[in-house]
């Protein structure tokens, strides 16, 4: 059992207890979900040294297909996020006409694994889509994601191209800059929204991670968002809060993002990050690139809006 470097050993007993609960839960012995402290605001009063910080799971390994499952096990299993019969949207990054090796899209193994986890949790339907930047058919095909998702062979799973005729205008009352924008109906009308970005470089916003990935569920002229993109992404989040963020860092694109094209720009990191807190997930993923939260334009505004915890120490990182 490995322990993250920024975590004290004091926390270990509780974590063992937690993992025991997780194991019991996934075995179906426990009907009540384990306490997860998701969204817990502050630590306990001084006397109790119990770590109530939200969990952030990091799974590492060469077998990328099992990493999402291991990360989710840390968070208590997909059943904590997807209830039986629910409509689920899994939103990978399929934005570019690039192959998996080029690191511009979420890896198909990771996408298929997450979809399968949703099915195992009893999801009524799982919809997979992205609004692509390049030709949509080629993006879906060359990313390998369409084939991987279709290979699951479940009639509950649908991978499709979003249709601009199904963009619903959403008023964003809490938005500071963006107060109205169109979102794809499927993204709005689901019970659980799982954001599944790939971690990679981006010319404008330094990186593209979870928040940036949400640009794939909106219609309209996305280029307009590039001015003051940080605040705008934080605003858009109000319209579609994320149930769970899973960041694919099996390989990360270090340069020439977001679409890359040269495998020399890609570094294999064998990592998948999962967290219920979208800000914390992005903060941790930025760390893989050696970047601080302040380097990523949306993290400050998102934390200020209350979307999540920007302090890297504000979450408890657990290796899965």
């Amino acid at each position: 059992m490995s322990i993250d470097h920024n975590m004290s050993l004091d926390h270990d007993p509780r974590r063992r207890e937690f993992l025991r609960q997780v194991a019991a839960f996934t075995a179906g012995a426990l009907l009540v979900p384990p306490m997860l402290d998701i969204g817990a605001s502050a630590a306990e009063p001084p006397p109790a040294p119990v770590d109530r910080r939200p969990l952030l799971a990091v799974a590492s390994g060469k077998d990328w297909a099992v990493l999402p499952g291991r990360a989710l096990a840390v968070l208590g299993g997909m059943g904590n996020f997807v209830k039986p019969g629910q409509k689920v949207v899994v939103k990978p990054n399929i934005g570019w006409d690039r192959t998996p090796e080029q690191g511009a899209n979420t890896h198909p193994l990771v996408v298929a694994a997450v979809v399968q986890l949703c099915l195992d949790a009893g999801a009524g339907s799982v919809q997979v889509f992205d609004r692509t930047c390049n030709n949509r058919e080629r993006c879906y095909a060359n990313s390998g994601i369409q084939a991987a998702v279709e290979a699951i062979g479940s009639d509950k799973v649908r991978i499709f191209h979003p249709d601009d005729r199904r963009v619903v205008p959403v008023r964003i009352a809490k938005g500071k800059v963006v107060t109205e924008w169109g979102f794809y109906r499927e993204a709005l009308e689901c019970d659980a929204f799982i954001n599944l970005p790939v971690a990679k470089h981006h010319g404008l916003s330094r990186l593209t991670l979870g928040f940036k990935n949400l640009m794939g569920i909106i219609g309209g002229k996305r280029g307009d968002l590039h001015k003051d993109i940080g605040q705008k992404l934080a605003d858009l989040y109000w319209a579609r809060p994320v149930t769970l963020t899973i960041i694919d860092a099996t390989r990360i694109l270090l340069r020439h993002g977001p679409q890359g094209g040269d495998v020399a720009d890609v570094e294999v990191r064998d990592t998948v990050i999962a967290c219920a807190d979208p800000v914390a997930a992005d903060v941790h993923a930025a760390g893989l690139f050696g970047l601080k939260p302040a380097d990523i334009p949306w993290l400050g505004p998102a934390a200020a809006a209350g979307h999540g915890i920007i302090d890297p120490d504000g979450v408890r990182v657990v290796q899965g």
């Binding site: 390049n134 030709n135 949509r136 095909a141 601009d164 005729r165 010319g203 219609g219 001015k227 679409q259």
Partner: protein, 506 residues
């Protein structure tokens, strides 16, 4: 005897109708595949090109204007041979436009009969199509490619390429007006099935109205007379008619007999002259006369024909002189500045043709297949930017759609080789143009706002657009000459309203 042969003639007539409908279905199916989303092997999808590859008129025009031969044209030679054997049988049996006009004529026959009450157009009206044929070929020889304005498959393919988005967008607009939102509530069902979703940037192709108007012309002629387009206007039919004057597939007798005259009234193209003789250039072997002949006199046989049975038409000489003048008109126009002029810097062509604009315009028959094939909606008909010589030729309009670097569909579908078949690598080696930043309008150049959407979307792995510190502290884009292939992706996504702040120029 009469009963048996009558029945067999009727059977043959139905056989022809079935062949016609199958050919039309084939055309539409091939068109649908050509316009369909990219598959693994697009060459197998590019079938609509075959209608132009079997088209001797389009191929002859391309060869004359381009002064070159392409192996793509071999099917046209076969159809030339078929015309020598069977004359205009193609028009009666295979032409998809002819079949569509037959169907349209069935729906509008009441109108035609009501308005014209049995009156027919004068015989000389059948002659201008020969002048059109001559004009197209002469103009092609003179370096002016006009065949796309009159070739029946061009009319149809271009018309469909325009009608396709018109129907979809019209349906959306209609349902928005009636129901308040596009295609709801039917969209649930359509969406779950195989409704071809619109590309995000899809809109009506440029000059769509011109394409529809040319197709509409054929539809209007049908209101004047059955197969009016084929009787009076179609230059391909004229070519087949000329070739078929000595074809051994014959309707006999070579004139109406002394009896009922039913063959004259039943004839699809009104091929019988006033004196009763059959104009062979108008016989499409439609078999109606055979089916209508109660006496079993009319028949279609294979035998060596006697010398031409075409009667001298009144005013023929005048029409020929007029036709020659008409035919010369494009040649005269070609010599003027109207004919061919230097196109503006922002007139881009499909990939692989930038080096030889003149050769491209010579070989392009304006068939519209590339417009339908382009998955990005990047190719559009051009007007007079390059003069008359460029009329309706495809132009790449990045603001509406950019050229996907690893897509080679337009070259694969082009039936005359005007757009070359390039590998992805060869295509990258032949830039369409070069992106140029307008520093007066580019957002980070003129303000403290960041942007760089162009850099983000630049599909070159090593980035043809790079960043450098700008005057206001924000990074600004600059284009690397030599790396940029002119795909236009930057121009398409540039968030500046109206004209983009980064544009691809030749």
């Amino acid at each position: 005897m009469s009963g048996g042969s009558l029945r067999s003639a009727r059977t043959q007539l139905w056989l022809r109708r079935i062949v016609q409908l199958l050919a039309l279905a084939l055309f539409l199916w091939l068109f649908r595949r050509t316009a369909a989303p990219a598959g693994e092997d697009y060459a197998a999808q590019a079938g609509v090109a075959w209608w132009f590859r079997v088209d001797p008129l389009a191929q002859a025009s391309a060869a004359l204007a381009g002064r070159s031969w392409t192996w793509l044209a071999w099917p046209a030679l076969i159809f030339l041979g078929l015309a020598l054997l069977a004359g205009r049988a193609f028009c009666g049996w295979l032409c998809p436009l002819g079949t569509l006009l037959d169907l349209w004529g069935r729906c509008t026959g009441w109108f035609r009969r009501l308005v014209w009450r049995g009156r027919t157009a004068p015989a000389w009206a059948r002659l201008p199509r020969f002048a059109v044929l001559l004009a197209v070929l002469l103009a092609a020889a003179g370096g002016l490619q006009l065949v796309g304005l009159v070739d029946p498959f061009s009319l149809l393919t271009r018309g469909l390429a325009a009608a396709d988005p018109a129907i979809r967008l019209g349906a959306d607009a209609g349902s928005t007006a009636l129901l308040g939102s596009p295609v709801e509530p039917a969209s649930e069902w359509l969406y779950a099935t195989t409704l071809p979703v619109l590309s995000p940037r899809a809109g009506m192709p440029a000059l769509w109205w011109a394409s529809l108007a040319l197709l509409g012309l054929a539809a209007v002629l049908e209101l004047v007379g059955r197969r009016g387009w084929c009787r009076w206007a179609c230059p391909l039919g004229a070519l087949y008619g000329l070739l078929g004057r000595w074809a051994p597939l014959l309707r006999l007798p070579g004139q109406t007999c002394a009896h009922c005259g039913d063959c004259r009234t039943s004839c699809d193209l009104g091929a019988f002259a006033d004196d009763g003789r059959l104009r062979r250039a108008d016989c499409t072997v439609c078999l109606r006369c055979v089916a209508s002949c109660d006496r079993g006199i009319a028949r279609v046989v294979l035998r060596l024909p006697r010398p031409s049975t075409a009667p001298p038409d009144p005013g023929r000489r005048a029409v020929l002189i007029g036709g020659a003048a008409l035919a010369a008109a494009p040649l005269i126009a070609a010599a003027t500045p109207l004919g061919r002029r230097d196109p503006p810097d922002d007139l881009l062509r499909p990939p692989g043709v930038a080096a030889d604009e003149a050769g491209f315009l010579d070989r392009c028959v304006r068939c519209g297949a590339c417009l339908a094939a382009c998955p990005e909606g990047a190719l559009h008909s051009d007007g007079f930017s390059a003069g008359l010589a460029g009329l309706l030729a495809p132009a790449l309009v990045p603001r509406r759609g950019a050229c996907a670097p690893d897509c080679t569909r337009c070259g694969e579908v082009c039936p005359t080789g005007a757009i070359p078949r390039l590998s992805v690598d060869a295509k990258a080696a032949q830039p369409i143009g070069l992106a140029v930043v307008d520093e007066q309008r580019c957002i980070p150049f003129v303000s403290e706002e960041s942007c760089l959407v162009c850099e983000e979307h630049c599909p070159i792995a090593d980035k043809a657009i790079r960043l450098r510190p700008g005057p206001h502290g924000e990074d600004v884009p600059h284009v690397r000459r030599g790396a940029c292939i002119g795909c236009g992706w930057c121009e398409m996504v540039c968030p500046v309203e109206g004209v983009a702040a980064i544009r691809v120029l030749r």
